[in-house]
Structures are given as C-alpha cells and as structure tokens.
Symmetry: C2
C-alpha cells in the first residue's frame, strides 16, 4: 500500500489537524488552513484514495475524514520524523530532577508528574529493579518485640524491606551476627543459589534465607514494587472521554494492577532500554485499551536494573511530543541508575 508524496502530505496534515482540533477534517478546511496549492477537489480525490487504503475513514457520509488506527501507525512510523523536545524544556526538566536530590521515591514521583504534564495525559512509572536480583548486603534490625525488620540491599542499589516475626524475642546482637553470616554466605548470589544453601543452615538462619529467596523471586515479575501514577484527571479533559463510560474503561487499565501487569509483561520485554514502543488503540490485543494509545519506554542499565515509564492517553494524542518526552525522561532516569551504581 504505497503512498505517493502528495498523499503522504495530506495524510500527515489530516492527522496533525485532527490531533489539534478533535474535529473531522474536510477537504476545504485542509486547503484553506494550510494554504495548499491544489484545489479541494483534488484533495477529495486523494482523501478518497487514503480512505480506500484504510488510513482514513468518515464517521458518516457527510463529515470530514478521521484517521484510522492504521493511519496513526503509518504516521508514527513513516511520517512523523524524529522529534525532540525544545532545548529550554529539556533544561527545565533536568533542573527539576537535579533539585529533587537523591531520593529515589521523589525521582519516581517527579518522573510521573513530568510525563503527565508534558503529554497532558496519564502517566505511569515503575521503580528500577534488577532483571535478576542478587543480594549485596543484609541487615536485621529488631524493631519491637518479636518483630524483626529485614533490609536487603541488592546489587544495583535498590533496597527491599520485609517484616518477619520470630517465634521468640532475639537480641539485636544475635540478629546482627546472623545478618553478617548470611551476608557473607549469600553475597552476589541469585534466588536459586541462595535456596540451595538452605540445608546447611538451621533455625533462624534458615527462616531468613527462605524469606530472602521468596522476596527475590517475587521481584522477577515485571511489576514488582510500587507503581507511580499521575495525571489521571488529564484524560478526563479530553473530549473523547467526556462520557464517563469511556473514561472508566481507560482509567481501569491504570488502576487494576492485573491489567497493567499483563500490559507490561507482554510489551516491556520486547522493548530495549532507550527504545520507545507505541501501542495504538490496543493493537487488537487489549480490549480495555481500544480507545487509548500507550507510549512505553524503558530505562536503566540492562543486566543491572531497569524500569518502565509510560503515558496513556487518547488515540488522538500528540505522538511527537509524547514520544520525545518519554525518551528524554527515560534518559534522565537511566542516568540516575548509572549514578546510583557509580563508585
């Protein structure tokens, strides 16, 4: 389905115009708004061809044209070109991150906020986590009574904590001793290797080891830990979500962990770090996303720790701006991961 240059131009203009106005665009409007040197009749003929080719459609006989999902895909792949955020926007964003200090939590929150604000859509950010968790350091801390806080520092620098309840109170000294022993034994090992050590140990140590392995295993899921969200109300501002039902379906994706998990697990693995993936209209796979588009990016250092960021908005979204924002923020977060692991 090859398009000639003029058809490409018209398709691009229709999509740009529709993204801006949310109104079906007609041949006359197109000629007038963009000062084309051809008549509306010619545009009509070309539009007819584009409709035939499946890139445009008419909501009804006498409305203008609206891009189909296939049209958007063609646009994103072939017509959009490589866009980038303006320099001063980048500087502003970098500055915000710089001011956020060294707190991972704050960075994640800020990333979600920036994505939501720049793209005027909903955003999500997952914390970085290692593809295969390896223990770096273990600490056991008595909190109150028989409750013990287990803090695991992983290679990659992320930290997990987990409560455990002992059968009987144990002094901080004994706990520290146990933590030291286990740290020495398990340093640099993955979940399976750690579980293999289990039989050699007894009592407290064995319980702890099992917990560690459990926790490390759990983190292998794509969606472990907290998901940061922002801009949920942005999508309610879009005219295509004026009706509550549509909005509900879209926001459910973000609210229901299980849907999100499915989405991420099926897409993230095929996205390389630094790359950006665009899902338009659910791509036939996700019923819930039929009215949405998703722009996903991956950040971090492969083999060390990676995370996912994304934007969910209406299909009629400004892909250029969104994609560049996702790419840029992913870059910043990758820098953070690198920095956290720098000696």
């Amino acid at each position: 389905m090859e398009l000639d240059d003029r058809q490409k131009l018209i398709l691009a203009l229709v999509i740009r115009d529709y993204i801006e106005t949310a109104q079906p665009v007609g041949s006359k409007r197109l000629v007038e708004a963009y000062d084309l040197d051809i008549s509306s009749a010619t545009v009509r003929n070309e539009m007819s061809a584009l409709t035939e080719a499946g890139y445009l459609r008419q909501p009804h006989t006498s409305a203008g044209r609206v891009p189909t999902e296939e049209g958007y895909r063609y646009f994103v792949r072939q017509l959009m070109g490589h866009t980038d955020l303006p320099q001063h926007t980048k500087r502003t964003i970098s500055h915000q991150f710089y001011q956020a200090g060294h707190d991972l939590d704050q960075w994640m929150r800020l990333a979600a906020s920036v994505l939501a604000h720049q793209s005027q859509a909903a955003s999500l950010v997952t914390a970085p986590h290692p593809e295969e968790a390896r223990l770096k350091h273990l600490e056991l801390i008595a909190t109150l009574g028989r409750q013990v806080l287990m803090v695991m520092v992983m290679t990659g620098g992320d930290v997990r904590q987990q409560m455990l309840v002992l059968a009987e109170p144990v002094t901080q000294e004994r706990l520290s001793g146990a933590a030291e022993t286990i740290t020495r034994l398990c340093q640099g090992l993955g979940a399976r290797a750690i579980l293999g050590l289990s039989p050699q140990l007894d009592g407290l140590d064995q319980d702890v080891i099992r917990l560690i392995a459990d926790e490390m295993d759990r983190s292998r899921a794509v969606l472990s830990g907290e998901v940061y969200r922002d801009g949920l109300t942005n999508v309610l501002a879009e005219p295509e979500f004026a009706e509550a039902g549509a909005a509900r379906r879209a926001l459910r994706v973000l609210e229901e962990r299980s849907i999100l998990e499915d989405l991420l697990s099926r897409t993230v693995l095929t996205t390389h770090v630094g790359g950006v993936q665009v899902l338009i209209g659910g791509e036939g796979t996700w019923e819930e996303l039929r009215e949405c588009s998703v722009v996903l990016g991956r950040y971090g250092v492969p083999g060390l720790a990676t995370g996912t960021i994304g934007v969910i908005g209406p299909i009629r979204m400004s892909y250029g701006r969104t994609i560049s924002t996702v790419r840029f923020v992913a870059g910043l977060l990758s820098d953070l991961v690198v920095e956290m692991n720098l000696e």
Copy 2:
C-alpha cells in the same frame, strides 16, 4: 427547626429512596413504595414543610423532591441510627486481612481496596505515623560507592529509609560503628532534642544527625509518606459524574497532594481515633468537594502512631454502609498498630 416524628420518617424515606434510585422522589411514589398509611396529599404537605425547613428541594416545579445538603446532614446526625456491617461481611474482611500476613504495605493496599469495594466509591489510606517521631534504632548500610542507605526505626515500629551521599567512600565497619554511637545517643529522642546534640559531634556523625532530624521533622506533616488510593473508577460509575467535568473535579482532590493535604490537616486533627467524620458537599469550605461527600476515620494508638482512612463518593452515597465500613476497617488497622507494638 424541630421536626415531628412523621416529618422525620418522610425525610428519612426520601433520602433512602433517593440514595437508591438517584431519582427525585414524589409524594405518590413514596406512599406506594413504602406502604404508608397516609395519603399522598398529606405527604405533600409534609414535604412542603420539609422544603420550607431547608431539608428538601425540588430540581424544578414538577419534579419530585431531592435532599439538600442540610437534609443529608440532619439524616446522618439524627435519623440514620447506628448501623453496622453484617457479621458475615466483617468475617470476610477480617479473613482477608489475616491472610495478608505482616506486611504493612499490603495491609494499606488491602484497606484501600476493601473501603473502595464496600462503599463503591474512591478510598484513601495513609500509613500510620507517630505524632511525634522518636528514634528507636539507626542503621547505616553501604550500598554502592559513596551512597549510604540510612534506615531509621521509629518507636511505633514504622521504618524510614533515606539515601545519603558521602564525600568519600567509608567502610561498612565504620558505618556500623557510627550507627551504634548515634543510636545510643539519640534513642527515644524527638527531632528537636536530636538537633540539640549536634554541636557535640563531628564529621560524618553530624551530617547523619542533621538528616535524621530533617526526616523526623518532615514526618510531622499530616500527610507524610505514601497515600494509598483505590476505587477511583468507582466514582465514574455514578450518574452524577457521568459528565467528565464533575468527575475531573472530584478525582483532582485525590490526585493533587496539596488539596488532600489541606483536607486532612484541617479535619483529621479534630477527629479522635475510632471516630468518624462526615463532610457533606464540601461544607462550604472546599470548593473542589462541592459535589462530593467524604467519610474520614482515624486509626492507630494516640501518642504512638495514627493514620487516616477515608472514602470519597457522591453526596448521594450510602452513608450507613460507608460509615460502618470506615469504622470497622479503622478498628482492624488499629489492631495492627497495637500488634506491631506488642512485645
């Protein structure tokens, strides 16, 4: 504005019916639906009086009556009586919490989920935090390079972590030593007392002390730490939020931390643990909540650690069910706080 028994009955029936059907209720419908022994004409007269008194209003001349916000307030205060969740519902919920194990994070998430599900509205839950933070135990852990993880265990059992970056790498031994020293010095002290110790110390110790005091100070805000939310999409199902604008205004309250902070700081302090506060239609103070009602509860152990839970829904919400759910869940979470602090 005293009401006689029959007026109270009619007011209560109108409100109950309206909550169920979301339709203005007329005199005839009321008599037929509830088998009243009086005629519709009498009901009309009483309704007229209730309208005069400001508890009911008519959307237009020939519609039925709808409760005013004042009407809802009267209902909640005087007419509703004390409601409680059915025994089997309580058991189901308790069971869910029991299965969640000992993970605070999971409990919070579950609490939000239960609140949202039971009340079919949006919910929020803040983690328990002490009214005045006191340090119980400090641990310093080398993660990578000059990055050090500071873990603070507070009296009350909650745990905070904070990254700090040193000027130069320090061995784990030295860190552990420093942590021990500081723990000994600061155990049981509040933020101000800890800051008072600062001059006696030098170098690393002093930096750490300052960070601790900062962190403890920060937690004095009502809304420190994570806010757990759930059921945001529930409010989109309500007919009063079918229009996106109304929904947007309502959800903004939950999304924007600053609004939430304002809301909590002005109400939570006047709510005692175990008590439930009901805000109807913004109470004239919160423009954003004009179309919503909020049911807030407080849980925990005063003086030790407390937190807030709440439900946000349409004014036309089932107050009985919501209030009992909030009360019950608050009770469960209070038990958790007690248990976490039990020796």
